[in-house]
């Protein structure tokens, strides 16, 4: 068991001007499940590989426990990359499939058996130890492969998009399995994914990266409730947070016809505009003429409630986070018994307790 520390860790690929990972600082607690998440090119895999010893560190250090591992070879770090190479051997028993790598490492037979049995207990594979993998179900085979990593009892597990080649159903199944297994084992784990839903459901804490720079490290709840900037606000949560650029006025910000109260201190240092963020479930549908007018484009019925996708009727109001090709819709969750129709106009405003305000230039959070 061990802590992991990224200490100003930097990686610049030869020939590049900008670092792929730029002065990364994260303290990972003993036994913690930390998820590195970000869009492609954000540096998350590079960060993991730096920890694994697969990628050179050009600046700063990396610590495992109280050992500086920055310049150690992968073998000497006592970390295990899980799932990368998953093969089951048809003629060998489940026990041998789990334990054979220990035999190569020179561990004695009794010890191998002990560790295999412990792992089998955790993985609910005890009754199958003497069987051949062919006799197992798909999910059990997955667990045998996990067992191969567990018996090595490394100080840290590393996983790089381990579910990316599984079909959707197995992905959800395995996601839950890995998370609960990690909690039972209590081994420090660093997990990379581009999928924020995976990150939210699995991690004790999440580290969001973009362009090689750490945006925020926090628990899923904290990250959801208090995103540190516009990028995190738009990246975490599904459907995504609505982000609207609005003018600052006396005593608050102007949201359509309404002035929303925002404490003066919060707006200090903001320019003429700020970005107001509101999650779809925190959108209040108000009366005609109150707040922001939205034209309804699509309604998605979910039973108890529904999602409304629309466009601000005032064309001057732009939503952040869309790309050129596709304007981002405004999304509101509404009561399933009072659902508007396509083409209707509705008026909305944020639930003031759950409103986020960001600096329009820097993107940094202004409210708390």
């Amino acid at each position: 068991m061990a802590t992991v520390k990224y200490d100003e860790s930097t990686r610049i690929y030869p020939g590049n001007d900008t670092p792929s990972v730029d002065r990364l600082n994260i303290d990972i607690k003993d036994g913690e499940f930390l998820v590195l998440v970000g869009p492609s090119g954000s540096g998350k895999s590079t960060a993991l590989r730096m920890l694994a010893g697969l990628e050179e560190v050009n600046g700063g250090k990396i610590w495992i426990g109280d050992r500086d591992v920055t310049n150690l070879s992968p073998k000497d770090r006592d970390v295990a990359m899980v799932f990368q190479n998953y093969a089951l051997y048809p003629h060998m028993s489940v026990a041998d499939n789990m334990g054979f790598a220990l035999k190569i490492a020179g561990v004695d037979k009794g010890e191998i058996r002990k560790r295999v049995e412990e792992a089998a207990k955790i993985l609910d594979l005890e009754p199958y130890l003497e069987r051949k993998p062919k006799a197992l179900s798909g999910g059990q085979r997955q667990r045998v492969a996990m067992g191969r990593a567990i018996v090595r009892s490394p100080q840290v597990f590393l996983m790089d998009e381990p579910l990316s080649n599984l079909d959707a159903k197995l992905r959800v199944q395995t996601r839950t399995q890995i998370a609960s297994l990690q909690r039972r084992l209590g081994v420090t784990t660093v997990y990379v994914t581009h999928d924020q839903v995976e990150a939210m459901t699995m991690g004790d804490r999440i580290a969001v990266l973009k362009d090689g720079i750490l945006q925020q490290v926090a628990t899923p709840r904290e990250m959801y409730d208090n995103p540190a900037n516009v990028f995190v606000a738009g990246f975490i949560g599904s459907p995504a947070m609505n982000l609207v650029s609005v003018p600052v006025t006396d005593g608050g910000v102007k949201f359509g016809a309404h002035t929303l109260q925002v404490p003066r201190e919060s707006l200090e240092g903001a320019g003429k505009n700020v970005i107001v963020g509101v999650r779809p479930e925190d959108v209040e549908v108000t009366g005609q003429g109150e707040g922001l007018e939205i034209t309804v484009d699509v309604v998605e019925e979910l039973g108890a409630d529904a999602y409304v996708y629309g466009t601000p009727t005032d064309e001057n109001i732009k939503l952040e986070g869309g790309d050129d090709a596709l304007a981002k819709p405004f999304i509101a969750r509404v009561d399933g018994r009072r659902v508007p129709m396509k083409g209707d106009k509705i008026w909305v405003q944020p639930h003031t307790d759950h409103m986020h305000v960001f600096n329009a230039e820097s993107g940094a959070r202004l409210s708390h």
């Binding site: 690929y13 030869p14 020939g15 590989r49 694994a52 010893g53 697969l54 990628e55 050179e56 070879s73 992968p74 073998k75 990359m81 990368q84 190479n85 998953y86 093969a87 089951l88 051997y89 048809p90 003629h91 060998m92 041998d96 054979f100 790598a101 035999k103 190569i104 993998p133 062919k134 179900s137 798909g138 999910g139 085979r141 997955q142 080649n165 599984l166 079909d167 159903k169 197995l170 199944q173």
Partner: protein, 412 residues
């Protein structure tokens, strides 16, 4: 969604394959044989316009990525299977979507390691396979390919004048980088070592490999062989200015392990007493390129070496040392090599590649001569070989078998 076929070699016959059926259930009439590696995906060999194509059922994005990766490897002149196409947008008769298929050409005369082992082996074969894999891994690493899943299952072997040449068959986990870090190379080697040991232990558990062979010892060989070769190909060497012959010597050593030196960095220290040299660009296939240039024959590195040796003895025997090398090579090709390989009856031509057959006949002649205590003409050797040895060899042009082992990754 409509069926979508991406291929560099459009063949209308592709449309006749039963794409709306899961690969597992494809009718016998389309199948050529079954593959013999261990795989997580369903793989089938399919007959297509006189060719054999390997079809792997796999998620579309992964199929496309692997297709592109194999094309890149071929472009970089690496020994890998040839990508043929990707078929996506498959839908079953009942409307459920099916995974995409990656198509690669079956590599003729290639042998999956499991097929080799179930034939019963000459002693030492397992180490020869590892040596071949070490050469492949060094070559791939030198071009910047980080394999990620090095194993015997993901390699195909071709006979190469008594030893083997290794080909990459599974590029799914690979990445092409500008250069590999030491950590990345060590990672591939470690994966190779564990996988090879596991694969050999599995063969023992299935009673396909002699109990006396130690899988751990054999698997360690990948590391030592790889490191020896890597050092020879990349290490910096330093010596006194007086020892300039060592430049030549280094190049000769590289040639003897089958590499050409395309770029060698030479530098001297300030007062000019020491020289250091380091190969910067090396290219595998020293002998096979030379043979190709002289004769147009495209064969394995070991086979080329053997054929070049025979060409040299032909030159000496016919006393033509002063003739133009190309002319002698042409005569050797038309008078010795081609007539000999043509002596194989058509029904036996699927046993061995022509160049491998030539190698075998040379070996056979040596044994005959030893027994008879005098030289044997090559014509007599081939006649005896075709009559007494070749018929009992297994057909290897496209290996057939039934013990395919698939461990599909699917939800319960």
């Amino acid at each position: 969604m409509a069926l979508q076929i991406t291929t560099a070699r459009p063949d209308p016959a592709l449309l006749d394959l039963p794409w709306s059926t899961p690969l597992e259930d494809w009718p016998e009439e389309h199948l050529a044989a079954l593959p013999r590696g261990i795989s997580r995906h369903i793989v089938r060999f399919v007959k297509l316009s006189g060719r054999v194509i390997a079809v792997k059922e796999i998620k579309e994005d992964i199929a496309r990525r692997e297709y592109a990766m194999l094309r890149n490897l071929r472009r970089l002149d690496q020994p890998s299977v040839e990508p043929f196409g990707v078929v996506s947008g498959r839908v079953a008769a009942d409307g459920t979507p099916l995974d995409a298929c990656l198509l690669t050409r079956h590599l003729k005369f290639s042998l999956p390691y499991r097929a080799l082992f179930s034939q019963g082996l000459r002693p030492g074969t397992e180490t020869r396979l590892i040596d071949a894999l070490a050469v492949l891994l060094v070559r791939l690493h030198l071009t910047g390919f980080w394999w990620g899943d090095v194993s015997l299952s993901n390699t195909l072997f071709r006979r190469d004048a008594g030893s083997f040449a290794a080909w990459l068959v599974d590029a799914e986990t690979g990445e092409l980088l500008p250069a590999l870090s030491d950590g990345q190379r060590a990672h591939d080697l470690d994966i190779a070592r564990v996988n090879i040991a596991g694969e050999l232990m599995d063969l023992q558990a299935g009673e396909l490999l002699d109990e006396a062979i130690d899988p751990v010892v054999i698997s360690n060989r990948i590391v030592t062989r790889y490191e020896e070769l890597w050092r020879e190909l990349t290490a910096m060497e330093e010596f006194d200015t007086g020892e300039r012959w060592r430049v030549e010597e280094r190049i000769r050593r590289l040639n003897s392990v089958g590499f050409d030196v395309d770029e060698l960095a030479i530098s001297t220290d300030i007062d000019g007493t020491r020289i250091s040299i380091q190969p910067k660009v090396v290219d595998a296939g020293h002998h096979s390129r030379r043979l190709l240039r002289l004769t147009g024959l495209d064969v394995g590195e070991g086979q080329a070496r053997r054929l070049l040796n025979d060409l040299d003895s032909y030159r000496a025997a016919s006393d033509r040392q002063n003739d133009d090398e190309e002319l002698v090579a042409h005569d050797w090709l038309t008078r010795i090599y081609e007539p000999l390989t043509r002596r194989v009856p058509r029904e036996l031509s699927g046993k061995l590649e022509p160049a491998e057959l030539f190698h075998e006949v040379l070996e056979h002649r040596w044994y005959m001569a030893e027994r008879a205590q005098h030289d044997i003409p090559i014509e007599d050797a081939i006649e005896d070989y075709v009559a007494s040895i070749l018929p009992s060899k297994p057909d290897e042009v496209s290996v057939v078998g039934v013990d395919t082992v698939e461990m599909p990754v699917i939800a319960d």
